[in-house]
Amino acid sequence: MAEEEGGSLIHVAIKAEKLFSIGPFEVTNSMVGAVLASLLLLAAAWYVTRRAQTVPGRLQSLIEMPVEYIAGITAASTSRWRGYVALVVGLFLMILVANWLGLLPGVGTIGLKGEHEGELVPFVRPAAADLNFTLALAFVTFVVFVWWAIRIHGPIGYLKELVGEPRYMAPLMFPIHLISEVSRLVSLSMRLFGNVFAGEVLLATMLALTTAVIFVLPLAFFVPAVFLGLELIFGAVQALVFALLTMTYITMAIAEHEGGGHESDEEHPAPSPA
């Protein structure tokens, strides 16, 4: 629909666009964004570890601070925090860097004229504005919390958890529980994607509105800047939300049986199916 209008000033593609292909494999601009974010993070990690000092410098503590913050929150969740803290912190850092990378000037604006109708295909797209990226992260989270649930309960215990407490309600409750498990996957990925994509649309809209008429053109320097600041906050909040939700799901998977007091009951049947 958007393509039909052609002259519309607002153009944000909902799909990540293909830049080129290596054999059958398409390389999209959001992949470039994700790889760029990863490389940035690795560079930061390399910088921190290369000149590791006991008394950290300003840049080093800037990088270590969020790690320690998230790790501190995670450490307070369960006694097994060492088993999943890396995932939580990694998710946070990855999403944070990917989101903020998308706000840099040039990202989403520098590109090639694409195949169809001369639309701009940017070289770099904010990774989280592609559902592939967010779904991949949510999928990793999903696998990890299901794995934890199975590891703590045993496969039979996990199935029992899905079936629910009154056994005769199983035909009704089992699909509901299954859907609720899968909906976590969908809601995690959709939340991040929706926020970042909506942010992109918002920025594009603000830019389009202020550049539509020559009369309001000076506003184009200020109005998008306000929303850029807002997106800066949202990027961090969404990264935090994703990480904390991951932590919460894993904590729930673990603590359902840790806090219930029947941990010892579950310990005995657990080895037999394993």
Partner: protein, 71 residues
């Protein structure tokens, strides 16, 4: 064109989470006002509640995006 109108209507669903977020935030601020030392304890559950409430609005957005781009 119809699907664009439908997309617009779908975003009416964002009213609910909007109100919900407002209530949640106001309660969080109330709690913070009553007990400023608890800010660290309140923050994480607040962010989680915010995320879960906001998810509804995001669902609306997703539905309307589907309507626009795939409708």
């Amino acid at each position: 064109m119809d699907s664009n109108i439908a997309a617009g209507l779908a975003m009416l669903g964002a009213i609910g989470p909007g109100i919900g977020l407002g209530i949640g935030f106001s309660k969080a601020m109330e709690a913070l006002g009553r007990n400023p030392e608890a800010s660290g304890t309140i923050f994480v559950p607040y962010i989680l509640g915010l995320a879960l409430t906001e998810a509804i609005g995001i669902y609306c957005l997703v539905v309307s995006l589907i309507l626009i781009f795939a409708g």
